[in-house]
């Protein structure tokens, strides 16, 4: 029993409640302190969890100590620990960025408690071992994100927010249908138990239907090809800090759930669906990057790149192997960090000019060289140029692809990398390199609070690139763990497996 798995859930909800209580102006310092402390605790805890999983293997606990397949199980393995770690890191940096970039009026409307609830939902989704519980965590994080995306109430936010909410609700509904049908088919929703019963299901075609419904549900959260429309229409409307944390966490939770449910629980189905998953992955990469080329707004370009990068994560899934999942995890962890960094730096540039329109920006490289340097390092990382972490993420994916003979998707992935760099250079040219648009002397200077969060994340990306060996070793183990559903069943229900535990409890 690893009951400490509840700590990363208790800490944000407790801190959110305290931060709500101390919203008043004179107590605000206390609320901010509590928020920062809670997220720092989560970050420290997830680092410890990574170490613990490295030495002891999967960590499992049962809510209320119910016997395994009956209650709600919480499981941490390598994949969930690294996602937990990266998301609390991003949340910490986002809070620091928000402190200096955001109008303090936002705090009157519970901005930081909402961020914490988002972290709560995300952490729960990473740790849970029960499919219906995963649905509930998704709703927790969605409700927090609904609040964050519409906080401020400007017209674009309300328009974009409405589409975001409706399309996400339809995705959640598909998730619920899939949960119901799965329960009707196998009679359990515990992931380990489902994986075990999946082996001897009488009617394989209904399982294919359920797997496709899950793909639709998580795919719409992760913004894969035909389901990504809510993303570019809404992500550029809230403040830059909110966009940054959304890009870091929300779509990646969808990708993680795809890995967990399709890559682990529905593994047999995944092998059958793999060609279609790869097709969707390739199209998502290309359509995302082509969509980005047509845009003329910093954050809209970056939003389309989120879609394109999700294609890579789905490619890792479509390879349907431990190596593919490992490479996908490596890439996802890298892109969460770099994408958030680029949104921070792009948001800082936007704040200087008061607009995100590329035509009305320019000349920033001369005025703010530090910002320009970190932006350039960031796009190098996103495009996958050697010393940065992006290179190793892409190399791992291409290696896994070529080893399995998936040449076409590997070619598309490499080609998309070039297009990504091209599209990012457009922002570089327009915002940083070209001559200044109008008189720049009256524009505000970048403050350390705007520069440092993005810079810190870019440096982390560089460090991950330089120390890539350790990270690759870690994600290889995590990928093996994720792909090994039988080991997962044994960790959750004991050596006999869930079915035996189920029978024993009924007797």
């Amino acid at each position: 029993m690893a009951n400490h798995l509840f700590l990363p859930l208790i800490s944000p909800i407790l801190a959110a409640a305290l931060a709500v209580i101390f919203t008043h102006q004179q107590w605000r310092w206390l609320a901010r302190g509590v928020v920062l402390m809670s997220i720092t605790f989560n970050l420290g805890y997830s680092l410890w969890l990574i170490w613990l999983i490295g030495s002891e293997g999967r960590q499992v606990t049962q809510a209320s100590n119910w016997i395994a397949p009956f209650g709600i199980t919480f499981v941490a393995d390598g994949a969930s620990a690294i996602m937990l770690c990266v998301s609390s890191l991003l949340m910490l940096v986002t809070v620091i960025y928000s402190l200096s970039s955001l109008d303090p009026g936002y705090e009157n409307f519970y901005y930081y408690p909402l961020l914490l609830l988002l972290l709560l939902g995300v952490s729960g989704a990473f740790l849970t071992g029960d499919i219906f519980n995963l649905y509930v965590w998704f709703e927790v994080l969605l409700l927090a994100s609904f609040g964050l995306i519409t906080l401020g109430g400007s017209r674009p936010q309300l328009e974009g927010g409405l589409k975001y909410v409706v399309l996400n609700l339809i995705g959640s509904t598909a998730f619920l249908i899939a949960c119901g049908m799965l329960y009707g088919t196998v009679g359990t929703l515990n992931m380990a138990h489902v994986a075990e019963r999946m082996q001897r299901v009488q009617n394989p075609s209904i399982v294919t239907a359920i797997a496709c419904l899950f793909f639709f549900a998580y795919g719409s959260k992760a913004a894969v090809l035909p389901l990504f429309f809510w993303l570019p229409t809404s992500y550029h409307t809230p403040p830059a800090a909110v966009t940054a944390i959304f890009s870091g966490l929300l779509t990646k939770v969808g990708a993680y759930s795809l890995y967990r449910i399709l890559g682990q629980v529905f593994q047999g189905e995944l092998a059958r669906l793999a060609p279609y998953v790869l097709l969707i992955a390739g199209l998502t990469m290309l359509v995302g990057v082509f969509g980005a080329m047509a845009q003329m707004n910093v954050r809209r370009i970056l939003s389309f790149h989120i879609v394109s990068q999700i294609g890579y994560a789905i490619m890792g899934l479509g390879l349907a192997s431990a190596a593919g999942l490992a490479a996908g995890l490596l890439f996802t962890a890298h892109v969460m960090i770099v994408k958030t960094a680029l949104f921070f730096i792009g948001g800082a540039a936007e704040q200087i000019y008061g607009t995100g329109d590329l035509k009305k920006m320019g000349g920033l490289a001369r005025r703010e060289p530090a910002l320009a340097i970190f932006w350039f390092l960031g796009i190098l990382s996103l495009a996958g140029i050697p010393p940065m972490s992006g290179f190793f993420g892409k190399v791992a994916l291409l290696q896994a692809g070529v080893n399995q003979g998936a040449y076409l998707i590997s070619g598309v992935a490499a080609f998309t990398g070039i297009l990504t760099f091209f599209s990012m250079l457009k922002i570089w040219n327009e915002v940083f390199w070209k001559k200044a648009y109008g008189d720049m002397s009256k524009l505000p200077r970048v403050t350390p609070g705007l520069l440092l969060p993005g810079a810190a994340l870019v440096i982390i990306s560089l460090a991950l690139g330089l120390g890539a060996g350790m990270l690759v070793d870690y994600t290889n183990v995590a990928g093996e763990q994720l792909f090994d559903w039988a080991g997962y069943v044994i960790s959750v229900c004991g050596d006999e497996g869930c079915e035996a535990a189920f029978e024993a409890a009924l007797r």
Binding site: L158, L162, L169
Partner: protein, 117 residues
């Protein structure tokens, strides 16, 4: 019973899709409400209670389930789903109210500004 429920679910889904494809924000929300009802009924049919018409009651002294006892878990799932969809509907109504105020229109086609280049 199953047949009746199947027809009801299908009708709810059809109505939901029809309403969601209209241009009015209010009809969109009504469509989402119908959709969540349809899903709740669908989950209900997934339990064995509909077929067996038994009680989900276990003998409290022995803890043994009699043959024919039905599984109450689907009802618990539905209850959770109802609560969540209730909260989300309340949120989206408030959001739609604010959005129609800001755009001065109930027509979804007037809400395409954030999509333009």
């Amino acid at each position: 019973m199953i047949l009746l429920l199947a027809i009801a679910i299908g009708t709810l889904f059809a109505g939901a899709v029809y309403l969601m494809l209209r241009r009015s924000v209010v009809k969109l929300i009504l469509g989402l409400v119908l959709l969540s009802h349809g899903v709740n009924l669908l989950i209900f049919t997934m339990g064995d209670g509909v077929r067996r018409a038994g009680l989900p009651i276990v003998d409290s002294s022995t803890g043994i389930a009699e043959p024919g006892t039905t599984d109450p878990l689907v009802q618990a799932l539905i209850l959770t789903a109802i609560v969540i969809s209730f909260g989300l509907t309340a949120f989206i109504m408030a959001l739609a109210y604010r959005a129609t105020q800001a755009v001065q229109s109930d027509d979804l086609d007037d809400m395409a500004h954030t999509d333009r280049l």
